[in-house]
């Protein structure tokens, strides 16, 4: 009898650590599939997986964060379908609010909020001025919250890159931002971060540096 109790205790302990591990593993697997997704169907599948995880783990800000990120990425794949893109970005916004409410990493969340405004410019060009301003304000806040976060530098570089040179934009002004981002990406890589924390942006930033140097 004693053995049974021990056995069930062991099973219980195993299950508990398994749940924690499952979340991390599932997140990690899905983050990898998102990175490797090459068509809208597989990106949509990743969004759905993140959504299931977020619904099942309503106390993990990481789930809502990555869900929002995947929704922003998916929005780019839907280019031309304004209505669905807007709905996706609205939902990503709601998910980030939840992530903030769960005391998630402010710097990372502000960055994504800025990313959403940046993405809206394509959908509502008439509001470009306002959205560009709102996005850069959020990137500034993201940097204020954590100056070692490379992502707000990268995205604010994107804002600059697509602004004509005579308005303080262009390659010349964007490159230093991408380079700052690169330095911080390199530090981040060495830091051996928790797998649940965001690491996206390195490759995209590299590509932009190449583009600038051409």
């Amino acid at each position: 009898m004693k053995k049974i109790i021990l056995l069930s205790l062991a099973i219980f302990a195993f299950t508990a650590s398994f749940a924690q591990q499952t979340f991390e593993t599932a997140m990690k697997t899905n983050l990898d599939s998102l990175t490797n997704a090459k068509n809208p169907v597989s990106v949509q599948d990743c969004v759905n997986r993140f959504e299931r995880m977020a619904n099942a783990e309503p106390n993990r800000w990481e789930a809502f964060y990555h869900l929002a990120y995947s929704q922003i990425i998916y929005n780019f794949w839907l280019h031309g379908n304004n209505k669905r893109q807007t709905a996706l970005l609205d939902q990503a916004d709601t998910n980030l609010e939840k992530a903030l409410g769960l005391k998630g990493d402010k710097s990372e969340i502000y960055t994504l909020q800025g990313f959403i405004f940046q993405s809206r410019i394509q959908l509502e060009p008439a509001q470009a001025m306002q959205y560009a301003q709102q996005s850069s304000e959020l990137f500034n806040r993201a940097i204020q919250a954590n100056k070692d976060n490379p992502r707000p530098y990268y995205l604010s570089g994107m804002n600059t890159f697509y602004t004509p040179e005579q308005f303080g934009g262009g390659v010349k002004n964007a490159l230093p931002k991408f380079e700052t981002a690169k330095e911080k990406f390199d530090v981040e890589k060495k830091a051996n971060k928790n797998v649940l924390l965001p690491v996206w942006g390195t490759d995209e930033n590299e590509k932009m540096i190449e583009k600038c140097k051409k």
Partner: protein
């Protein structure tokens, strides 16, 4: 022991075997049976699930004790269904309904134009106001491109649905702004005291507004100041008519914004070759605005808005009391200060507190050569409002308001040194309550009541307000509103007698609104009944016995608004049309007539084109209004003359550099049309017995404005 373990083993296995083979499949569609590919199927409470294929189908293997499936898709309401345990292969189809309005669902819209930086249900954003060409950067100027307002070029105040200028009140963070406009130079529109950039949200109600606000017969303009600033910044503006500097300092829990601006029209008028009349002192003003923020506790925010300004101008204006060609020297000086302190907090028990105090001090000195008028107004309002969501679908708002209004006027006749002083003080106490509830998902109701007591007039009133909205489908809704509105007579009427009563208006409004994919259409029909309007005899305006509340009138009409931000890339435009039929007998009117501020048809169009390549926003606006009535003393009938129609086309361009610095150029009345608003008449007839007219028009046909705004 072994037996025991075996049993356990088998019972586990048995269950697994029983359920392992269960499959579920089905199809996800919208209500019209269109397949939804990419929809998410979730086994409730787990990470497990699948995504529907290109025809909306899915198949899923189930394992132990899973009870329900959830189907979800972006832009649609999620749906949950229980899995029956009996069968091996289960078919579960989902029909998803499109989400109506993610943020707010059904909202009462009758009579209100909300403008804010929220993403939905907006008709205008703060930036839209300054980039509307005909606005000249003025809030009121921009609002007159909305239907229900009349373009009254010589005045500049808001005139709403056949109501006089005094019938519209401005509220900042909930409390009254007694003198929201700068002193008016004759024939030039007055401008708002406050920059539109100070406010993050504007609710412009053209009627039927909430019981939280009172003392306005026609309209409430409800402004919300910016929230806690996000960054420390310096702004410098240089304009052809003045300059300004602003500094924002942002700390962790405290922030301060300070702005100084100076304007002088002299260089401009010198450049464009003068003014219609001879200016003895070109309009000049100096203003300081302070805005402070303090976060308190978890949710509390204290905001202080303070502004101080002084202005002066002088000109030689035709002396209408004399014969033509005679002129008098007019000199008007104004000093004004406004302070608004507001505090909002949220208590753990769910009550939301909004409280504020506003204080207006206004001193004006009008020197009209033969006589001088000095006027002082001290107005203090304190207000406290509590709000709570009683259930998910019901909310309650209660509040109280106390307003102290002290008016003093000294009239001095220069030649005879005759001096007359009138002064009075009124305490107006108001209580209000309002409840919002949604008896059904598609219906919203708001019931409110407001009661006021004036210590000066010893009068009490009670005003019910009712409104409702019914969502027809995801894009369109109908709203209805009924309300009664009371207003204390203006100070210049209470000067000679306090034996008056509240003026009264009744609003009935029906509204249809359609909104889809960045396009919005609103059609609103209304009827307003006025009664208890103050009347007097203009020949003996000092005689208290001629004052009474026997005036009355009505306004009825249709307002149409269409805005499109979708059809043309990088272009947005809006079109407003108003039909207005208004008649009233009030003040010194001898009979029921259409007042001079009520044009029958008004049409306004605004278009904006963002050219991304050169970071420039171009705007054009056009306003057309049928001629307004004026009284010609040469005619037997009162107010039977009509001015010619009004037409204006204005253009502007904003060129953005260094992210948020702007070069701004605007030209008003590009075509240079000589708009005549009406005529004023000399009081004395000439030798033929004819009263000579003086056209009432803008002093300059065109108006140019060039400005540079730097932000660091």
């Amino acid at each position: 022991m072994t037996k025991y373990l075996l049993t356990l083993f088998f019972s586990f296995f048995g269950i697994t075997i029983l359920y392992a083979q269960q499959y579920v499949r089905g199809k996800v569609t919208d209500l019209k049976n269109n397949a939804l590919p990419g929809a998410n199927i979730t086994i409730k409470g787990t990470y497990e699930g699948t995504t529907t294929d290109s025809s909306g189908n899915y198949q899923l293997k189930l394992s132990n004790s899973q009870h329900s499936l959830i189907a979800s898709f972006v832009g649609y309401e999620a749906l949950e269904k229980t899995i029956p345990i009996s069968q091996r292969v289960i078919i579960i189809d989902f029909k998803l309904q499109e989400k109506t309005n993610e943020l707010s669902g059904v909202v009462i819209t009758a009579g209100t134009y909300e403008t804010s930086d929220r993403k939905r249900s907006v008709t205008m954003k703060p930036l839209d106001i300054v980039t509307t060409p005909s606005s000249n950067g003025d809030l009121t100027g921009a609002l007159t491109t909305l239907p229900g307002t009349s373009a009254i070029g010589e005045d500049g105040r808001l005139f709403v649905r056949g109501g006089d200028g005094y019938e519209c009140k401005t509220f900042i963070d909930g409390t009254l702004s007694k003198k929201p406009y700068n002193a008016n130079v004759p024939d030039l529109p007055s401008r708002g005291r406050f920059s539109p950039m100070l406010f993050k949200g504007t609710t412009f109600s053209t009627g039927g507004y909430s019981a939280e606000y009172g003392q306005a017969l026609s309209s409430a303009l409800i402004l919300t100041t910016n929230s806690f600033p996000t960054e420390t910044a310096t702004q410098i503006s240089l304009l052809t008519v003045g300059m300004g500097i602003a500094q924002t300092i942002k700390g962790e829990n405290t922030a301060l914004y300070a702005n100084v601006d100076y304007s002088n029209l002299k260089p401009y008028f010198k450049l464009v070759n003068g003014y219609r009349f001879n200016m003895t002192h070109y309009p000049e003003s100096l203003g300081i605005t302070l805005n402070g923020y303090q976060k308190t506790g978890k949710n509390g925010l204290l905001k202080v808005l303070s502004s101080f300004s002084g202005s002066i101008f002088g000109l030689k204006y035709p002396d209408l009391s004399q014969h033509p060609d005679s002129l008098i020297n007019i000199c008007i000086k104004n000093r004004n200060s406004y302070t608004n302190v507001s505090y909002t907090d949220e208590f753990p028990n769910g009550w939301f507190l909004k409280t504020g105090i506003s204080f207006t001090y206004d001193h004006s000195n009008m020197d009209l050569e033969h006589f001088t008028v000095k006027e002082d107004i001290n107005n203090l309002q304190a207000k406290v409002t509590f709000k709570k969501n009683l259930t998910k679908l019901t909310s309650l708002l209660i509040g109280a308001e106390e307003t102290y209004n002290n008016f003093s006027q000294i009239y001095i006749h220069v030649e005879t040194a005759f001096r007359n002083q009138t002064a009075f003080a009124d305490y107006l106490t108001a209580l209000y309550a309002e409840t919002d509830f949604k008896p059904m998902k598609y219906i919203a109701l708001r019931l409110g009541v407001r009661s006021e007591y004036s210590s000066l007039m010893h009068k009490i009133n009670a005003a019910p307000r009712i409104s409702a909205a019914w969502l027809l489908n995801k894009d369109s809704q109908i709203s209805l509103a009924y309300g009664e509105f009371y207003q204390t007579p203006e100070e210049n009427l209470l000067r000679f007698t306090h034996n008056l009563s509240f003026e009264h208006a009744q609003h009935l409004i029906a509204n249809y609104q359609w909104e889809s994919n960045n396009r919005i259409l609103r059609i609103e029909a209304y009827r307003k009944n006025y009664k208890n309007m103050v009347c007097y005899n203009s020949n003996e305006f000092w005689n208290a016995s001629f004052y009474n509340n026997e005036g009355y009138g009505h306004s009825q009409g249709v307002d149409i608004f269409f805005r499109d931000q979708q059809s043309i890339k990088n272009v947005e435009y809006w079109i407003s049309y108003s039909y207005l039929n208004s008649k009233r007998l009030y003040r010194d009117y001898p009979k029921l007539v259409t007042p001079s501020f009520a044009p029958e048809h008004s049409l306004s169009m605004v278009g904006k084109w963002w050219i991304n390549k050169i970071h420039t926003l171009l705007g054009v606006s056009s306003t057309f209004a049928t001629g307004r009535p004026y009284n010609n003393p040469n005619s037997q009938n009162f107010m039977d003359a009509r001015a010619p129609f009004y037409h204006d086309i204005s253009i502007n361009g904003s060129y953005i550099f260094r992210k948020s610095s702007v070069v701004y150029v605007a030209i008003n009345n590009v075509l240079g049309r000589d708009n005549i608003y009406g005529y004023r008449y000399y009081a004395m007839p000439d030798e033929k017995g004819i009263y000579e007219a003086l056209p009432l028009k803008s002093p300059n046909k065109r108006f140019f404005l060039i400005g540079v705004f730097f932000k660091f």
